[in-house]
Amino acid sequence: MAEDSTRDSTICRCEDVTASAIAAALAAGARSPTEIKVLTRAGMGACQGRVCRYLVEALVAEATGLPPEALVPASYRPPVRLVRLDELARQHGEHAGKEG
């Protein structure tokens, strides 16, 4: 993880965030996975951080000297998978029906 040769590796494939971009955010003072997320957009794409979450945590841990398990993980946000707006809108009808 710490080798220079990995610095331009793509960490978040959805949002094209490289290790060097994350290093820059860490150098700017980010100390948590959430701050990396909002500064670089790592983890904001279609996979919702499934690929990059642990890599980001490892980079934050390395930069802060904290063990990864001591970090507050970035939030998990619904939906779990991509859901089309019209599929979601159909839930509106279903819920309305139940309440009515």
Partner: protein
């Protein structure tokens, strides 16, 4: 490229083939396999391009987690090729790199002024 004789699973049994198209080009697939496998076997590895970096993207995790292999199937976008079984005659399209007409701005991009209904530009009211 396919594994014809797998050390654990044994030899590939004879399987009927079906044809679908990828970006209009016919591709042969084994009946029942997923789009990602058929495309891979046909040497097609670039399935889409990333939004901001315009980097080529294809099958990555292979199990539905990463969404890297998403393609447009019969007009429906964001189908994961690794989870979508091939059906004969499917119209599969790479997701265009040009979903956005312009590359994404860096955080903050240029300041744009309000657009008047009649013409671009206009006073900013400040």
């Amino acid at each position: 490229m396919r594994i014809q004789d797998h050390p654990v699973l044994g030899p590939l049994p004879p399987t009927p083939t079906v044809t679908f198209t990828f970006d209009g080009v016919p591709v042969q697939a084994l009946e029942g396999e997923c789009l990602a496998a058929a495309l891979w076997a046909s040497g097609i590895r670039i399935l889409r391009h990333s939004f901001s970096g315009r980097q080529p993207r294809g099958m990555y995790c292979g199990v539905g987690h990463c969404y890297e292999c998403r393609v447009t199937v019969n007009g429906v976008r964001d189908r994961r090729a690794c989870l979508t079984p091939v059906v004969a005659g499917m119209d599969v399209r790479s997701q265009p790199p040009d979903l956005l007409e312009e590359a994404r701005p860096a955080v903050g991009g240029p300041v744009a002024e309000g657009r008047k209904p009649e013409a671009a530009g206009g006073a900013d009211g400040s």
